[in-house]
Symmetry: C2
Subunit: 290 residues, 2 copies
């Protein structure tokens, strides 16, 4: 039977129906209207699903964290103001009369990659997304390892260096503050004395700009430490890289691989791949939750 | 039916028979005679088992790493000279005509703690042993997560600080070189200008020696980073601490907990416990592999 995948974002809401094998059947997107609140927005999604007039097994929901997976509840995600504490899985179960399962956006994208994308057929996959932030998913035996407090694969806060704290609430030397797109922009801006974002830093690097080369090299070193530390805990079959910084700069991912090989025990078999599911990974992975 | 657990050590070989519920039935120990090589030593274990005249389901073997779990093969453990590349699981299968399963010493001790010790009844447990080195095990749903290359839970090589390399083959800033008993002894010896081991450093600390206090505090900081980084990947129900440094110094474990709470997202639910299975954990866990 078909499955429904829902992707909740701060600016956009998306919903799709998939066949069991991941084939897309229907898809719809709409803006997240902050005036409507969670119930008003979700009602629009429910009506879209009803409009398709299709039978389905259940609904999977991907949403920015922090969440409580087991309770199917949103906690206090910074880019979903007004959604705090909302029992989103229960809402869909009551409204649509089917099973609903919640997980976070990085985990569902990782699940799609592990089951239908770059990691298809493998037993264990770590998905790392490098864009504005650094997110991850750990998929073992076809299932997301969510952790006891919905905190597994929250690698953004991993300590990888002795560096001063950048943001309140984040660890000093946290992976995200040393290796995300935001971090690359911040570090280059400080050294160049002008505001640049990650895309501009990578463009400057291609022109041979020394500061840009050093900043990207440093971010790769930090990400390699992150890969090493993840590998020290779960030793997956494959690391799959997603997110704009990784996908637009495959040579950056190669550099991370080179540096990580210097740090991991099983360096001869350390396997990296780029994400393959594209923009629908979140929807596809959400549907796979059911 | 009963199960046999075998614990291979550089100086001692141990074997025991357990009931399904973990009750010890028989136990025997003998020195590892390096003149006999692996087959000669294992033959003595096989005869001990036969002498018990008991039926059993299979044999589980705990052994110092590195190992290849899937192949049941010893690779090149530094404290088992002459055992390199030995197909130990196959040897027992051929000799005793039963199933034999191999895993490393930290993983089997962790399995015992997770199933029958401090973590009994929990879904996910990370076992951390702090003694000469730093070892770990990750047990999820009653099973050791061994990794794709038998390298899961090899946290000793995790990068937790920007510090110079201490030993060849280990990462600069590796957890084991910053927080093991050996590291505590080394760091204190350097600063005190005399040779001390970890037990002496903890004794000096109890007397209020400033250097000893600082060294132990630093090791606790590094171990807290290790806990944070492991938690960022798998977020277990509980961390169980074993090994002489932890078990003889529960206040050290408390200090690590206090520091780790400053680093982890789910600090309100970060749960530490001391290992409960005692000296037979390795034997008990080995038997649980079957």
């Amino acid at each position: 039977m078909r499955r429904i995948g829902i992707d909740i974002g701060g600016t956009q809401l998306r919903v799709a129906a998939f066949e069991q094998d991941g084939t897309l059947v229907k898809k719809e997107a709409m803006p997240n209207d902050h005036n409507l609140g969670p119930a008003g927005n979700l009602e629009r999604l429910a009506r879209a699903i009803e409009g398709w007039d299709t039978s389905y097994e259940g609904v999977g929901i991907g949403c920015p964290g922090p969440l409580d997976f087991a309770m199917g509840r949103i906690l206090n995600p910074p880019n979903l103001p007004g959604w705090e504490g909302f029992d989103i899985a229960r809402w869909f179960e009551d409204r649509l009369g089917c099973r609903a399962v919640l997980n976070n956006d990085a985990n569902v994208a990782g699940l799609a990659e592990a089951l239908l994308g770059a990691g298809k057929g493998l037993d264990s996959v770590v998905y790392l997304t490098v864009s504005t932030g650094v997110g991850a998913a750990y998929v073992l035996g076809g299932r997301i390892v969510g952790g006891s407090h919905s905190c597994a694969a929250e690698v953004f806060n991993m300590v990888v260096a002795d560096r001063p704290s950048v943001r309140p609430g984040m660890n000093a030397g946290a992976l995200e503050d040393q290796a995300s797109g935001t971090a690359i922009g911040r570090m280059a801006s400080e050294r160049l004395g002008m505001q640049v974002d990650a895309a501009q830093v990578f463009a400057l690097r291609r022109e041979g700009n020394e500061v840009a080369c050093e900043v990207v090299d440093d971010a790769a070193t930090m990400l390699a430490r992150g890969v090493c530390n993840i590998n020290c805990v779960v030793d997956p079959d494959m690391f799959v890289f997603g997110g704009s910084v990784a996908l637009y700069n495959p040579d950056f991912v190669d550099l991370v691989h080179e540096k990580a090989c210097e740090l991991v025990l099983n360096h001869e078999s350390l396997t990296f791949a780029l994400a393959q599911c594209g923009g629908d990974a979140g929807l596809m992975g959400a549907a796979l939750l059911v």
